[in-house]
């Protein structure tokens, strides 16, 4: 993507609007508009998730990090694409975890003790949630209204739902963690489209030099974020 720092936007930074509601509504926010247009023209085709699973990830991640006055949500930011792409990495195959048996459950504070890598957690977890929602609500998760989706996520987080072999809470934490990664990781990995996550937080991205900003008495950092590939807001 082309760097698209244009004049009206630069002025809006000076006014300290970066990441505010007015910023998202400002017509000059070109990088963000461009990112949305690019995705609409060529929607991402998942390689790990099937269509139903991908719709679930899009819908659930959006409830975890929803679009609102503060700015875009996980769906527009590409968290689902991020998660799908992560499923092809050693991390998702559990290659950085100690995965030797025996697998014995214990108190929660002694940590994760299941024999499942992230790929397994998603396959089993999504199937479990879909089964649960069809049973309780008569429809798939992605087709439910937001209020009911939130009800289901609350139940998963609270630990009252078991998804077959996977405790609902474990699946919830996996999804929450990867959603937030997809919202705030460098756009290199398919999420944080148009640097939207970083703009909201006021994080400068790959700048990595703050020699002159060590102490500016609490003033906001004035420059827009930049990604590893050089994309800027």
């Amino acid at each position: 993507m082309e760097p698209t720092l244009n004049r009206p936007l630069r002025r809006s930074f000076v006014k300290g609007l970066l990441g505010t509601t007015s910023f998202w509504m400002a017509s000059g926010n070109a990088s963000w508009t461009a990112a949305l247009a690019a995705e609409a023209a060529h929607p991402y085709q998942p390689t790990f998730f099937d269509t139903m699973e991908y719709r679930f990830v899009e819908a659930a991640s959006e409830r975890l990090f929803p679009a609102d006055d503060n700015g875009p949500g996980a769906k527009a930011l590409g968290a689902a694409e991020f998660i799908d792409r992560q499923m092809q990495t050693p991390y998702a195959r559990g290659e950085n975890w100690y995965m030797s048996g025996p697998f014995q459950q214990g108190p929660a504070n002694l940590g994760y003790q299941l024999p499942f890598a992230p790929r397994d957690l998603y396959r089993k977890g999504i199937a479990g949630v879909e089964h649960y929602t069809r049973q309780h609500y008569g429809k798939g998760f992605a087709d439910l209204p937001a209020v009911q989706q939130d009800e289901i996520l609350t139940a998963l987080e609270g630990g009252s739902v078991q998804l077959g072999e996977v405790p609902g809470r474990v699946f919830f934490e996996q999804l929450r963690t990867n959603t937030l990664e997809g919202t705030f990781a460098d756009p290199l990995y398919g999420g944080n489209r148009g640097l939207g996550g970083w703009i909201m937080l006021g994080f400068p991205g790959a700048k990595a030099d703050f020699m002159d900003w060590v102490n500016q008495e609490g003033a906001p950092y004035p420059l827009a974020p930049v990604s590893i590939a050089g994309e800027t807001a």
Partner: protein, 592 residues
């Protein structure tokens, strides 16, 4: 057979090992250093911009130990079944050349002198009855005065930035009033205070405390160290902790020692070499060398050596001693044996302070060792009598550079929602306008907190995993609660609009799922009594005198300070005595 023979084999390639390797090659010895992980150099792993990618770095843990090969098991109490530490969380050990010294933060302390003789000091002031039942409180067997030249030497190698208080008996600066006399100033002036640290400094001073700049192995200026290795000025990019510094500004074995060492013909570094055991002769009192596995070819090789140095990190050192049969394993029931005894950690709680929405803390700005601390509640600097606990904590603002994924995953807690619009709003507000004050404290040793070999789980090499039996005890919980209670007035004076004071709770077990610190200690401690310490005061095994064991494993208690400055000083101290005494007549440096 025809085993290759060298004068010294060193296990691991972190700070402890690199210092020993440098000292021993300087003494003319042939040295082989074996590192289980890969080669790592700044131009490759440290290259910008890939080096500052949060996902690849701190989140997917590119530079940390890969647990799939080997891990530990953990339980809180002796009646539980310990379970494997399957995912990195509470502590983040290193792997590869540089060890955790490549991805550490850089807070570079000396030691509070009283911490070296804590048992004696507590008894002198409060009597022996003050020490709780079951606490194995011990002295190190070495004094600050003895170690001072080696702290000085380490700072000049690390290029440490700091603010001294007293040099050669004269007060020269605005440093830590509780810190002991120094033979020389820091090699570099202190780093600048971040905004958050500067308001902490003012508030702490107004409250009557004694703030000082954290000593940092992040170079405040360009620097050429004792070995001719060069550092550039730190630009506060904020990518210290969990990353390798692309600017050559953070001290690491890779930047500060290995460039000189690699030129020495007497030195050989073998990466991807996992040491399986130290080989002993039939008497079990002499090491003949080590056996390692080439992790690429899966070929086992035995090396013969006159001297074996373990610098594989605290718990790996203990593991190697146990699987090799060096010394007597600790038995908590009879309180006998020494290997595994006095396993300690560090208490740390992070409290959050929110400032008005017009004030931006820019938390992404920072350096690993940058910040302002007070020592008013550390070590023996305050009266423990009415408080009834042993130990203490420095309190500080150490803004090391907060990244968005870490902030997002961690945000919430304290009653706030963890997802949805309200969460999102809180996250943004917290990221932009808050700061953190840590109580980074001591952790005492207890009879039933120890290390041994796990009966069930094994590493990929077929060896039993190390088992940790560890939990928080009442003394340390009360210490933490007291120190955190002292943070509140400081936070108010900083202009807090809201605060979340976090402390340990009574009965709260150690939780392996949340990062605390990688400041594990003890398990093979130094001391002056072979019945209660695995190592003598020169970090030499009491039982196998040609084995030296260097690392925080030597600490009898977990101290309030970060450990690496002490580890480096102990490495230089041990090396000095090997060079000046041991090599002339190998054998025990202290009679048992």
């Amino acid at each position: 057979m025809g085993r290759t023979h060298v004068d010294a084999v060193i296990v691991g390639a972190g700070w402890a090992s690199s210092i020993m390797a440098k000292e021993l090659t300087e003494a003319g010895l042939s040295v082989i250093m074996l590192e289980r992980g890969p080669e790592r150099t700044t131009p490759v792993e440290g290259a910008y911009p890939e080096s500052i990618d949060e996902l690849r770095g701190a989140v997917r843990k590119r530079l940390f130990q890969n647990l799939s090969q080997s891990t530990v098991t953990i339980r809180n109490t002796m009646d539980q079944t310990a379970l494997p530490y399957r995912q990195l969380a509470a502590f983040l050990p290193g792997e590869g050349v540089g060890g955790a010294g490549l991805h550490w933060s850089g807070v570079h302390f000396r030691v509070a002198p009283e911490d070296l003789r804590l048992r004696s000091s507590v008894i002198e002031r409060y009597g022996a009855k003050f020490i709780p039942e079951g606490m194995n409180l011990q002295d190190y067997g070495v004094t600050y005065e003895e170690l001072e030249p080696f702290f000085d030497k380490a700072e000049k190698v690390f290029g440490t930035s700091g603010e001294a208080y007293k040099v050669q008996g004269k007060i020269i600066g605005n440093g830590n009033v509780f810190s002991p006399d120094r033979s020389d100033n820091f090699p570099l002036p202190a780093l600048k205070d971040t905004f958050s640290a500067s308001i902490f400094r003012d508030a702490a001073k107004n409250a009557g405390y004694h703030p000082y700049a954290l000593p940092a192995a992040n170079a405040s200026r360009q620097y050429t160290n004792t070995y001719g290795c060069q550092m550039g000025p730190c630009n506060f990019c904020g990518y210290c902790s969990g990353y390798d510094c692309y600017l050559y500004s953070k001290a690491s074995p890779n930047v500060n020692i290995l460039p000189a060492l690699r030129q020495d013909p007497g030195f050989t570094l073998i990466p991807n070499a996992h040491v399986l055991r130290v080989d002993l002769d039939h008497t079990k009192t002499k090491a003949t060398g080590v056996t390692y596995l080439d992790t690429k070819t899966r070929k086992e090789t035995s090396l013969s050596a006159d001297l074996v140095v373990l610098g594989a990190f605290q718990f790996n050192n203990v593991h190697l001693m146990l699987v090799s049969g060096i010394g007597k394993p600790y038995d908590p029931v009879s309180n006998t044996g020494t290997v595994g005894r006095n396993f300690v950690y560090q208490t740390i709680t992070s409290s959050r302070v929110w400032l008005p929405s017009s004030t931006y803390t820019n938390q992404f700005v920072g350096a690993g060792g940058a910040g302002v601390a007070i020592d008013d509640f550390n070590s023996m600097n305050f009266d423990h009598g009415p408080l009834g606990f042993v130990g203490g904590s420095p309190v500080w603002v150490n803004q090391a550079g907060v990244k968005p994924i870490a902030a997002a995953i961690g945000a919430g807690g304290g009653g706030t929602p963890r997802w949805g619009s309200a969460y999102k709003n809180a996250l943004i507000n917290t990221y932009k306008h808050s700061l953190v004050i840590d109580a980074h404290g001591s952790n005492m040793a207890y009879r039933d907190v120890y290390l041994d070999l796990d009966p069930t789980w094994k590493d990929v090499y077929g060896q039993p995993l190390l088992r940790m039996t560890f939990t928080w005890k009442d003394n340390d919980i009360r210490m933490n609660q007291y120190v955190v209670s002292r943070i509140e007035p400081i936070a108010r004076a900083m202009g807090a609009t809201k605060m979340n004071l976090v402390h340990l709770n009574a009965g709260q077990p150690f939780d392996t799922r949340n990062y605390q610190t990688t400041h594990l200690g003890g398990g093979a401690i130094m001391g002056d009594n072979p019945q209660t310490s695995a190592l003598n005061r020169y970090l030499q095994s009491w039982d196998v005198s040609n084995v030296f064991v260097i690392g925080s494993n030597a600490f009898p208690q977990g101290m309030g300070y970060n450990p690496t400055g002490m580890v480096a000083a102990l490495a230089y101290w041990a090396a000095h005595h090997i060079r000046t005494t041991y090599l002339k007549s190998p054998g025990p440096l202290v009679k048992a």
